[in-house]
Amino acid sequence: MIGFFLNQRWIEVDDVAPEMTLLQFLRTHLMHRGSKEGCASGDCGACTLVLAEPVKKGQGGWRLDYRSLNSCITYLGQVNGCQVITVEGLQAPDGRLHPVQQQMVEQHASQCGFCTPGFVMSLFALDKEKAKPSRLEVEEALSGNLCRCTGYRPILAAAQGLTQQPDHFTQAEAQVAEHLWHWRQQHMGALHQEDRAFLQPRDWEEWQQSCQAHPDARFLAGGTDLALETTQALRAFSLIDLSRLALLQQLRCDEAYFLIGAAVTYQQAHAFLTQHLPLLAKLMPRLGSRQIRNAGTFGGNIVNASPIGDTPPVLLALEAKLVFWHQGQEASCQMTDFFVAYRRTALPPSALLLRIEIPRPRLAPGQSQFQRVYKVSKRRDDDISAVCLALNLTLESGRILAVRIGLGGMAATPIRAYAAESALQGQVFDQAAVQAAQQALAESCEPLSDVRASAAYRLRLVQNLLQRALLEYEQGHSMEVDQYATVD
């Protein structure tokens, strides 16, 4: 059984297909049709709603964490022990519009109205997170909501009028959170239909039992890609949701490594990355959309093994190591050895990725680091890389002591640019060295032409991105167009 609040109403569900999406359940089972299906692939945001999760405060008491999600690619079982807030629930009990709804009306921010419920819910989540958000923060929060009518200007205006007025969710928050907290303690989330199941183990033992009961089940770590098999290819399967396993949720550092649990979402890691791993942090605003960052996980992105996955180039440049559970014990693998072929990894069948370990930089006196990550895509936000290049240099007196370059979009898997690295190794970081590295890239890379970019463009991009890195190194500031295109 699973249980969740739909707005203020408690719902328990048992006999539902494990691959049922939250959106489908709302629309077809509960006849809640305020949330719309625009694409069923997490790309348009029309189905956006807000998921609130209970958090225990330090000195007793509870609060809720609010995050926007694409309900079209969220499995119903994932909301066990959460409050699901939909557009139908926002009006005050006396019928007054919620402030985010009022802002949208006053700014003339809806035209056809089909995307509007999704925007309202992303704005609701933003309002819970931030008073008086800046334009950049608004863009970041709404990066996963497409509008084809308004041109967005009035929606930006509506967002910038938000003031975090308390609402009926604020009033009920502690009580709802406490209820959810206890529910989670008492129940393991599960749905069963025919011979398939959705299982949400809470500890190692439940995980092992789940695997034994459904050895063919797919591991679910966010599901932003896996769910497309359901919504696009119409496949049915059992699922084991990894989100409640504490072991996969760690986010910490020890003396030698930064550790990121495999089921940590991009958004959960935001502060940690900003503090410890600026190269990854820099990439984050360009990874998917806010809704995707709220759901997608590091482990999912890596195991998925897409040649254009966002984090692998950076993790390759940072010499990350992957630790997994296999046959009753921990084992590990260097990131560089992990991707073996198109969408194939060195992870043994039935093994479970536990965490990513990124070595802490050790710089001797006089040494410095120069790191850059560049992602080029047709569209700035919520697009997939034509090319991604991550560069990690250790320098001493202008000379390159160590160099790691990770590339996405340049081969059937994410790769290290070994030939270019050799060309740079030991050289002064200057035009001649970059030219040699560019030549090495031309000789060693054979990218594909596809719908996103031609092979020739991809190659020229990685060459020119090295050039840009050198310019930025010499000039001491960013040369990216984004730096100039803001009003904040």
Partner: protein, 780 residues
């Protein structure tokens, strides 16, 4: 008898919502609360079946055999429908034949519908559809428009407009330029995909709920496909989740298929396309290949222009004839061309049938002359804005290549924008900035738009409305236009409110239905408010006149002394009664409280044989200045600032008009920048999901985005002297494309004009930069 409702005192401070006020969209509250219902949100009648389409996996060839047994036997499947089950007409071509609803033999494009399966759930229907086994004899698809033209694979005859002795001027001119460009198509990407719900009625008819811009056409086609009279089919459209032209003809197939299945099973049937099928199966904005050959004088004034536009219509005519015509009507944009020839071709390729999309060929036509303006400026080392201004209608001649006089000058609007956007100072600043930066360059461009308003198919320029007054003083309004987000219902209601002098809140707008206002035109060509506003006004005036006559006679005063305002009716010295009291008095005096209204656009005609006439009632004018920043190393760019000045005449509703302008601009920017349609050599669309087809997101909106309305009433007697606003702003985005070319041109110190075909993706921008640098090497 039950007593009439006691009239409420009309509060004089109640918002009036008259014409010209920036009132909110009538559905705004329902949009933000999730209460606005779209077709897929309507509660299904008990026993509703869900349908899924089985479609072709090749673009051109024949079906050799079909095995649908597995589909039929799949769980929860109730029925299967193929061509053999179509009792009536299978060709649903809207103007010309060529659009089979289902096929059992020839395949003309990838993802062409072959069969329909219905099951007890959408999931089951779609799963069952996957089980079809169809063998094909594929042929090599003809996909290249130029090859199609060479083979004379034409959907409709070519058309030509000519003035003067073009060839001898071109032959003698010292200064000449020519170029060819390809303009990509565009996926509509309405957020609400194609959907219809068909419900059989007791007399063997059909009630259709659909997301269509053209309910009357859906009614006709459903009737013809089912072989029943039009009168037995009713089509209802409350609202669409976006249309943009993509639901003008392209909504009909799904309504017809749902109706066929409903007729066959006797049950309600819903057909909703998954997004990927929607993108594969429906037509898009036409890709065009355009050419110009111009002669000009030393100041950049064009002496002669030979322009050719080639529209890729896909596999069938659909609306391609009119779309290429409109491209031709706009190949001059705002510029007088003394000696001119404009030729337009409509070629057939093995592609979905390209269709209406906001601008309807106009944007593609305009691109070629705007490109010529920039090229001339580079060639003569002039500022492109100066070249544009010197060639404007009003500055030179006033007669278009098709003989219509351009009566309103556009120069004052351009100069106002030039001033307010600080164009000249920014031009200087950008020149300095570009010289200093190692890898970024900025570009600036001001481009005008002159867009002809009217359907070029004359008979479509008509509209009807139906208005009921009820005895509690409430008003029900219906008209033939459809609401797709543009705020048409709000504007038309404002017209009725103003005409009757009553607050907007009294007026209930109802869903568009073919049984209320019959024989309507599509809501398209920016004409919605112009046509339906006038029709609704006519209905309101009829009722107003009827009630005025009644009251004048009852009170023994002249009709001219009766005034309607703020929910009151005044007469004599200072006598007044409320609107409701007047309606009740009229009812009791047995005066009819219901009226229809009708309108047809005056003045317009076009003689196609001579290519002369007045196809447009008037022109909507506008201009935009955009500034971009381009990365020379990657081709990445951002739009930094856009200023727009748009002529909407006397605005019916400034908030809605600004919404149309901003939205149209961003949509046009998407077409010209990030929205790239990619087909493979087998005719299969590769950019068939939002993961691979990228419309603008919120961060693509320029950080500085200033939109102003140009204060100038329409000289023509349009509804309250307003001007249409749906399509014209889309073409303001040409300023972005032109600014990108300007930025690239700066790398040659503005001596060379770059080759940059839209959509100007970062990849194309980088190649344009490299191409220019190579040419620069050749020059130096």
């Amino acid at each position: 008898m039950r007593q009439l409702t006691k009239p409420a005192n009309t509060a004089l401070d109640e918002p009036q919502g008259q014409v010209g006020e920036a009132v909110a969209h009538d559905s705004a509250q329902r949009h933000v609360t999730g209460q606005a219902l779209y077709v897929d949100d309507l509660p299904e009648p008990r026993g509703t079946l869900y349908a899924a389409v089985i479609c072709s996996e090749i673009a051109q060839g024949r079906i050799m055999s079909m095995d649908l047994d597995a589909v039929r036997q799949a769980p929860d499947v109730e029925a299967l429908l193929t061509l053999a089950d179509v009792p009536g007409e299978n060709d649903i071509g809207p103007v010309f034949p060529g659009d089979p609803l289902l096929t059992s033999d020839q395949i003309a494009y990838y993802a062409q519908p072959i069969a329909l399966v219905a099951a007890r759930s959408e999931w089951r229907a779609r799963q069952a559809a996957q089980l079809a086994r169809i063998d094909y004899a594929p042929e090599t698809p003809l996909l290249d428009p130029l090859e199609a033209l060479a083979q004379e694979a034409l959907l409709r005859p070519s058309h030509q407009m000519q003035r003067g002795d073009l060839d001898s001027v071109l032959a003698q001119s010292e200064r000449q330029l020519q170029a060819e460009m390809h303009a990509g198509g565009q996926e509509h990407f309405y957020l609400e995909g194609q959907v219809s719900l068909a419900q059989p009625t007791e007399e063997g008819g059909m009630l259709i709920f659909t997301s269509s811009q053209h309910p009357t056409e859906v009614q006709m086609l459903v009737a013809q496909v089912l072989a029943i009279p039009f009168s037995q089919v009713t089509v209802e459209v409350r609202r669409m989740g976006g249309g943009f032209g993509g639901k003008e003809t392209q909504a009909a197939s799904w309504a017809c298929l749902a109706a066929l299945m409903a007729q066959k099973t006797g049950r309600a049937v819903k057909l909703r396309l998954p997004r990927q099928q929607d993108m594969r199966m429906t037509g898009k904005r036409h890709p065009f290949i355009n050419r110009y050959h111009v002669a000009m004088d030393h100041a950049g004034q064009i002496q002669a222009a030979d322009i050719e536009v080639i529209g890729d219509g896909g596999h069938s005519p659909d609306l391609t004839d009119a779309i290429v015509d409109r491209a031709m009507f706009h190949a001059d944009n705002a510029y007088y061309l003394p000696q001119v020839r404009i030729r337009g071709h409509r070629v057939r390729t093995a592609c979905v049938s390209h269709t209406a999309f906001r601008g309807f060929g106009g944007p593609q036509g305009m691109l070629i002359i705007e490109r010529a303006m920039d090229d001339i400026a580079r060639h003569l080392a002039l500022d492109p804005l100066d070249v544009r201004k010197r060639n404007l209608y009003g500055v030179r001649g006033e007669i278009t290549p098709y003989g219509q006089k351009v009566e309103q000058p556009i120069l004052p609007l351009i100069e106002a924008l030039e001033q307010s956007s600080d164009y000249r100072a920014r031009r200087q600043e950008i020149r300095r900035w570009n010289q200093a930066h190692p890898c970024l360059c900025r570009g600036l461009a001001l481009t005008p738009v002159k867009f002809g308003i009217s359907f070029t198919l004359q008979h479509l320029n008509q509209a009807g409305a139906l208005l009921h007054l009820y005895t509690d003083g409430s008003v029900q309004l219906n008209h033939g236009g459809t609401e797709m987000g543009q705020g048409l219902h709000t504007k038309v209601a404002q017209v009725v409110a103003s005409t009757l002098g009553i607050p907007l809140s009294r007026i209930q707008i109802t869903a568009t239905r073919t049984d209320k206002v019959p024989n309507t035109s599509p809501t398209a060509a920016s004409s919605g408010a112009d046509l339906n506003g006038k029709a609704a006004q006519a209905a309101a005036l009829t009722l107003k006149q009827r009630l005025t006559e009644f009251w004048a006679e009852a009170q023994g005063v002249p009709e001219t002394s009766i005034q309607w305002s703020q929910g009151q009716v005044f007469w004599g010295e200072d006598q007044a009664l409320s609107f409701t009291e007047l309606v009740q008095a009229a009812y009791q005096a047995r005066i009819s409280l219901s009226a229809t209204g009708y309108y047809r656009t005056p003045k317009i005609y076009y003689n196609r044989a001579q290519a002369q006439g007045r196809p447009f009632f008037y022109f909507a004018l506008g201009a935009a200045v955009s500034e971009v920043l381009v990365d020379r190393l990657t081709g990445e760019y951002r739009v930094l600032r856009t200023d727009i000045l748009q002529d909407v005449g006397e605005s019916l509703n400034p908030a809605l008009d600004i919404g149309q302008i901003e939205g149209g601009f961003i949509q046009g920017m998407g077409w010209l920048t990030s929205e790239e349609l990619v087909w493979n050599d087998q005719g299969r669309l590769l950019s068939d999901t939002p993961a691979t087809y990228k419309i603008p997101t919120i961060s693509d909106t320029p950080p500085i985005f200033k939109v102003a309305l140009y204060p100038c009433p329409n000289p023509e007697a349009s509804i309250y002297h307003s001007k249409a606003v749906g399509e014209p702003p889309l073409m303001l985005a040409i300023s972005v494309w032109s600014a990108l070319r300007d930025a690239i041109s700066s790398l040659s110190d503005y001596r060379l004009s770059p080759e940059l075909d839209p959509p100007a993706t970062p990849e194309k921008v980088l190649w344009a930069i490299e191409d220019l640098q190579r040419r620069l090497g050749g020059v130096a």
